[in-house]
Amino acid sequence: MKRPNGTPKLHHFAVILSGAALLLAGALAAQPGQAQSGTSAPPAEKLKASAIQVERTNPPEDLVIPESFRVATYENVIREIDKTKKFQHIYRSGDQTAANEPNLVILRMVPSAYKAGSQKKREVTTVAGATSIKVTVQFTDKSGKVLLEKELEGKVRFFGENLRATYDLAKKVAKVVDDTF
């Protein structure tokens, strides 16, 4: 007896469809896990602070980063945090008036890796010459207690000057601030 032609095809289609649905569900389930790739899990409740003090970026002694890169990181981070409007006041590193602030958080950025890259190489090849900087971002209270620590990376892959990597990093820091406070 000959089986109807449509049945096996329908069966295969159902198997493929269910497989695709499982893959999609798995991918969706994995997404929140990727977002929590920091060294510590994000707090359940948002932190509260009226002011933030941004400290200068101090790399370890064996990591040479151009001073312009360090300064651009510091200045860009202050600009981007200001844009979030999460704090009444942003204090700069060394500001003596910050000591009087009762509800202050301190942001420290410690670079852990740096790749100089080349704008010319990037724009000619489009695959080589990326500039990147990896930074450990740490939020502490006045007593030094760590409230949040994350590792972030700023990159410029295709077009733009090398210092644009600091802008990319600053945007990511501001995103963390926005999510945390």
Binding site: D62, S68, K120
Partner: protein, 180 residues
């Protein structure tokens, strides 16, 4: 005998006064000299000046004990006594930027990429300074070649502080990723 001694004393006194008067212009010449000034047009302020948009191009001048950045109606200044450090670096920048850069992307057969090979050398001057509360600021300027070194010399002569730093790796040579 007494008259002779008096004459010797008077002569010595006259001689002393003459020597003092003759040496005075040499001793005080430094105070009369006006502080050196310098003006450089077409300088890009990458970031770090209050009220100036990042990437703005304007004129930088050293006069009246401060660095002035002027861009049409916008002005900013850094007082020389507030400067904590001045750092110089060399970089290369693309000749074509902004809207022109986007236009080059439309050139067929990779012509736009070919244009990316043309770059110019620039000098980057990073000025670190503090505000009245002691807060740290950093301003980055991109100068046409040869001007930043001269400006640093003028600023240091007028009292700007500076320290010796390790030479940073040059931009075109790719540096391997460094990990602690």
């Amino acid at each position: 005998m007494k008259i002779a001694r008096m004459q010797v004393k008077t002569t010595l006194a006259h001689l002393g006064v003459s020597v003092f008067l003759l040496s005075a212009p040499v001793v005080f010449s430094g105070q009369d000299k006006p502080a050196e000034t310098m003006t450089v047009p077409d300088v890009q302020c990458v970031i770090g000046l209050e009220g100036i948009k990042p990437g703005a191009t304007g004129t930088v001048s050293v006069r009246g004990g401060a660095i002035h950045f002027e861009q049409k109606d916008k002005k900013a200044e850094i007082a020389i006594p507030a400067i904590q450090d001045i750092l110089l670096g060399n970089e290369s920048r693309q000749e074509i930027t902004g809207a022109g850069k986007v236009a080059t992307m439309a050139i067929p057969y990779g012509g736009g990429r070919l244009l990316s090979l043309f770059s110019k050398k620039v000098e980057v001057m990073t000025v670190e300074f503090t505000d009245s509360n002691g807060g740290f600021h950093g301003a980055i300027f991109v100068f046409p070649p040869g001007h930043a070194t001269e400006m640093k010399g003028i600023l240091v002569a007028q009292g700007a502080k500076t320290t010796i730093h390790l030479p940073a790796p040059e931009e075109p040579k790719e540096q391997k990723e460094q990990k602690p």
